[in-house]
Subunit: 263 residues, 4 copies
């Protein structure tokens, strides 16, 4: 399990989400409260959108709290759209290429959760990635494979559908060769224009997902757990796909169709 | 506050102390129980004695639990004397040169605790280091400065006296320019022949210090907190200096003499 | 292109190969002479055999010349069989999981060379790795994929044949989807008992491969370029598979059979 | 010896200096031509000024050419004033805190050159740093000590004078306790408003220093060696202190006054 926070709206210094709030993402890297592991110290990452179509990407393997580069970067960089993540490995090595977010072209993606028994079918899962995207496979995580599979399923034109199809394929593999719980996931993704988030599980234990519009800031934070206590955060129900654009929120069902076989 | 474990006796794989026990040092790197911070993830280090007079030294900035090099090294290396440390920074940067143990010539040294208000007199403390030892000053910690000062006070010929004099000087600086609590320290050090440990504080909160002889193993572990519950560990009283050689234990008072001024 | 050196014989400090000779492996990390890139600074690695069946593994992403951990390790560790490597990336990321040697069970493997147009068929190459070995796929290099494929082809019982079959499959993929030159390779591998090396290319530019028995040391070094000028090194001819056991050398042809299709 | 490049002018993507030119700073990290070591791979750093008074700081220990974070950062960040550096250690450890630039408050500083026999008087040199600045002493380089000494000499109000006094003190220490050549230095520094550079040596071998105004870009690059061959770069004569503000250049003599004794 990991923790993450995303933002879309008027440009703000990234530190306003990542390090300044009382229960900021960096605070959550050693004191998370709404997930199994309080410690999320197996690397971190930031994808931010600025003047280019492609996001900037900064990832490293130290705990987020101990990296002076990160502290400096989030204090300097203003962004209208960014994704930030602190990692608690569920087994895969601590390496930069296994840190979230992942970025391909204009898209960035980060994930919290698990795919049950993934080690038993990692090879099958990687086979779901199309040849054209395979050079983007840099690490060994289920998360990166899911992202690349979703890109192959048409993420650019049909984000919800593509992600449903990708998750359905992973779910089928887990049912066939893996173990329960098959899928527990929250994820955030962006093309630099809209911010998307999803909350889904094959059992009753969906990871939590919240969002909050700040009128003073003119932007919205989307998070795996609230950044401040005492604030009013809206919880997204399980089985939801969210589209955040400017101050608008659209929340629709997220229903990966059961598949007979995976590949 | 940090956690550490040392060993002297018949050669064992280092992992028998560092990673195998139920509450091994690596377990303590995320779940320490007898110190303020449960998380000791700001780097780690190992000094071990083998076929040379000088110890080997392996230190890195990741959490100890996530470094495959460490896992491999402690599974391969057998040693009759070693010091291992997991770090929780009290402010100084997470960098290899700030990781314990420190090693100079045949000596190695590691430390847990604090020197009150150190930042206000770091320059004075570094001035206590003799010119000949100054090239060994690699990082910025109070611990390394204390070790080098003790070496300058004659650690090689009078370990207890030299450490008392060094601590007295640091204590005087803290009283003069720093803040309470002035000194809280446990430390372990070795010349490759004997293992020494010290427990001391200027107030009633000495960090804990334990040791235990294993007859099956033919060796002794000296630790900041026990490696297994249910075992019988002997606690060292505050204000003690310990000498461990073969199966013998000598525990004598550790009494840094009050000093009027530091430098 | 990379540089590497291996040793088998009476136990020696690893530094006697890695850092002490005039043109040691660390010297070659910035001044290699017999390959295209003089600089091999994209990480390094060491696999050594000691008291266990499995080798120890130490790899990191810095240049070999600047890592104090490596310097200390090779000064302390004595080994009767080890493989050491300095890397010049041909495109893949500089990450620990992309550093040689690779180790699975008792086997270790390191490689210098290229597989022509690998990016275009990496997915096909990874499909050659059997399911049971797939969890060992940690990085993204052609070298690791070749090693795992060879393990799947029966490296443990038929080293030459397994490596020939694995190389034949990679060669077929390169002819089908990649680019010339299809294969240029030297590699060293070991099961902890014997040291194997191979030199092969599909064109006239096999990377160099040398070995030399030292009677004073009682051991043999096998290298991609000589460790000292003025010494008498034997060059292995292209298309050779070498078995080094104690002071014996067996050199036989290495002839991957042409394959019609890859998978 | 190291290589560096600085820029002041209309905001540009940092990559236009650091990675895009034919002989960019990253190219110089493995193929420098105007200094003793062609390889400058012992870490790198970037200080850039954006919306805050203090610069952002990004430094790491890998070779500049192999860090994807750096590549992404310089492609995203636009800046009107920045300093970038690739390091070839002259002995000090490869660690982030030894990487240039150094930053304190609004000031940043980077250096190429040497202080003769520094190890013999490092302690004396550090004593030149005032107490108030001593907490900023993070590493062990002569460069950082020189910068902090210059800050203590009044860099903020009298840049040339403060740097002359600091260099004079280092030169006196080198003459007294060190070795020839006593000082060879080029350095660049900034308060976020002006860019300063200095070229000086106690012998005839000042490191090179060039600058060039780009009318198309509306900015000036100041470098240790030209970024493109075929362009017209102006060389700064030895013993010079340069002030670059907007498109204006002021070059005045830099004459550290001989000192009898250092401290």
């Amino acid at each position: 399990m990991c923790r993450w926070a995303a933002y879309t709206g008027a440009p703000i210094f990234v530190e306003e989400i990542v390090s300044r709030p009382g229960h900021s993402l960096i605070h959550q890297s050693h004191c998370a409260t709404e997930c199994l592991s309080a410690i999320n110290a197996d690397g971190f990452g930031l994808a931010w959108y600025g003047e280019r179509e492609e996001p900037g990407l900064y990832r490293d393997v130290m705990p987020a709290w101990s990296d002076p580069n990160l502290r400096s970067l989030v204090a300097q960089v203003k962004s209208r759209m960014f994704l930030a993540h602190v990692r608690a490995s569920t087994g895969t090595a601590t390496s930069r290429n296994n840190c979230h977010p992942f970025a391909v072209g204009r898209w960035s993606f980060m994930h919290n959760g698990q795919v049950g028994g993934y080690d038993a079918f990692r090879r099958d899962a990687e086979m779901l990635i199309p040849d054209a995207l395979y050079p983007q496979r840099k690490g060994a995580t289920d998360s990166e494979a899911l992202f690349l599979t979703a890109l192959g399923e048409g993420l650019a034109t049909d984000p919800r559908g593509a992600l449903e199809r990708a998750v359905a394929k992973f779910e089928a593999l887990s049912r066939q060769k893996g173990a329960a719980p098959h899928i527990r996931l929250t994820a955030a993704l962006s093309d630099g224009v809209r911010l998307y988030a999803v909350r889904y599980a094959t059992d009753d234990h969906s990871p939590t997902l919240y969002h909050r519009w700040s009128p003073t800031r003119g932007g919205r934070a989307v998070v795996s757990e609230p950044l401040e206590s005492g604030e009013c955060w809206e919880q997204v129900p399980p089985g939801s796909f969210c589209v955040f654009e400017n101050d608008a929120v659209e929340i629709v069902p997220f229903c990966p169709a059961p598949l007979a076989a995976a590949a």
